[in-house]
């Protein structure tokens, strides 16, 4: 479904991501692991068109993504719940969600359905639908961000560290929800520092270190691997 071949991304003279290869098949949950600054977010930004790759090829369902602007990539069916959430803080929860359906703005019925669906996944959002998104707690904001990405009915959803800043209990619920979304037919590419929780729900994973992929394998393989542990706490 999504294939990255030898992709490199540079910021000025600094190579943030170097020659990475990633393959995501339809229906999978794929996780990118690695510490902060290892290159996960850069990879995401490149897939969603916010950054331009310096080399390599990105292909989504047979179409090249390389030079497309971010808004077109959303239309092609890649939704992103970005690092830092990037919500519209002064807009209400519902307005945020509606903006998520921007690419489907003419399909009123569909928007209504998607909205209901998001409220089903996150009942608390329905309660707070008239509150400003910026006034919610971190976990609830994360829900809005995921909900907003869902509203575009993506075929592939990119989730950049959905567990950041969330209390452990909420993290667990978050991952359950992610699994649920996946079961409903959305392919998921996840970046996480929370290796344990992520590997539990993922089919396969890639481990990033210093901008390159040092390890890849099924979740079971990675779960048992000492390198993963090393990558995280240097043990």
């Amino acid at each position: 479904m999504l294939k990255l071949t030898d992709v490199s991304v540079k910021y000025g003279s600094f190579t943030a991501v170097h020659d990475i290869n990633i393959e995501v098949n339809a229906g999978e949950i794929v996780v990118l692991l690695g510490s902060n600054g290892a290159g996960k977010s850069t990879t995401f930004r490149t897939i969603s068109g916010l950054n331009r790759p310096a080399a390599g090829e990105l292909v989504f369902e047979g179409n090249k993504l390389n030079r497309r602007p971010a808004d077109q990539i959303v239309q092609m069916g890649i939704g992103q719940c970005p690092e830092g959430r990037k919500l519209f803080p002064a807009m209400s929860v519902e307005e945020n969600l509606r903006m998520g359906a921007f690419v489907h703005r003419r399909k009123r019925d569909q928007i209504k359905h998607s909205l209901e669906h998001v409220y089903e996944l996150f009942p608390i959002l329905k309660e707070k639908r008239h509150d400003a998104a910026g006034s919610l707690s971190g976990g609830q904001q994360q829900m809005v961000a995921i909900g907003r990405a869902l509203m575009s009915k993506p075929k592939l959803m990119l989730l950049d560290e959905p567990s950041v800043g969330l209390a452990p209990l909420v993290v667990e619920q978050m991952f359950e929800t992610i699994q649920k979304i996946n079961k409903e037919g959305t392919t998921i590419l996840l970046a996480e520092q929370n290796a344990n929780a992520a590997l539990k729900i993922a089919d396969k994973g890639y481990v990033f270190e210093n901008g390159t992929i040092v390890l890849e394998g099924t979740s079971a393989e990675l779960f048992a691997n000492d390198e993963v542990r090393k990558a995280y706490i240097g043990a």
Partner: protein
């Protein structure tokens, strides 16, 4: 006397508690590291100590003096230096020119001195230049002292930023992700440089994500998670600390 410590340091941004009741003592002459997952409040903690943000509550004590409410330039005068994640250097001028101003706080000449070219100004300029060359030699950049910053590699820029901090004659330097954005072998070089600083008697405190490096060089590590201190100790202790592993790997610490 404790060298530098924070007492119940707390910072709130709106409803979010970025740093929550952190007590931390920095040991003199050692490499102290602060680690933690993304969003744990490390940078905020740094900013509180260096006088960049006022804390919501709590205190920062440096050599027995309460520096909580001092503006950052006063804190610098007391011997506390810091670097930023992004280097913020003046790209158009040379490495040396960038570093010279670092010693400004130890000089007294004023605008009048500048206009009249007084002996004091000349003396102090020479002094600043000397200091700059000295710290450039220390960070091993003397060979490119006259090269414009715009043409430097990321690692060289980091070293220039170190030099600038060192030019203030600090007793302690705070380094905010010194190795972010540099290659693995260059990271090695920066680690060596930090050890060298400590050997020279300058206390180092850093935030870093490159765990292998931290575990190798740090004498003491504090771990933050959700703005709270969850562990503190030597690298070995941290590596085997259940809470820390849980914070990093998540879920039950079975891995």
């Amino acid at each position: 006397m404790i060298f530098l410590e924070t007492k119940q340091l707390t910072k709130r941004f709106g409803g979010l508690v970025a740093v929550n009741n952190v007590d931390f003592a920095i040991e003199q002459g050692k490499i102290n590291a602060i680690i933690g997952p993304n969003g744990a409040g490390k940078s905020t903690f740094f900013n509180l100590i260096s006088g960049f943000h006022p804390p919501t509550s709590g205190q920062v004590i440096f050599k027995g003096q309460d520096i909580t409410k001092l503006p950052s330039n006063k804190i610098a005068e007391l011997g506390v230096a810091r670097t930023f994640q992004t280097t913020n250097l003046f790209e158009q001028s040379t490495v040396l020119d960038n570093v010279i101003v670092g010693h400004r706080l130890r000089t007294k000449s004023t605008l009048v001195d500048a206009i009249l070219r007084t002996p004091r100004l000349k003396r102090e300029e020479a002094q600043c230049r000397e200091k700059a060359m000295e710290v450039l030699e220390f960070v091993d950049l003397q060979h490119i002292a006259h090269k414009p910053v715009a043409g430097l590699t990321q690692e060289e820029k980091k070293r220039t930023a170190f030099a600038l901090a060192l030019a203030t004659d600090p007793e302690i330097v705070f380094l905010d992700e010194p190795a972010a954005g540099v290659n693995p072998d260059e990271t090695e070089g920066l680690a060596e440089l930090m050890k060298k600083m400590v050997n020279k008697g300058i206390t180092v405190c850093l935030i870093e994500h490159k765990m292998q490096m931290i575990m190798r060089i740090a004498d003491k590590i504090m771990v933050l998670n959700y703005g709270e201190k969850i562990a503190e100790g030597k690298p070995e202790e941290i590596q085997n600390n259940e809470t820390v592993i849980k914070a990093y790997l998540g879920g039950s610490a079975s891995a």
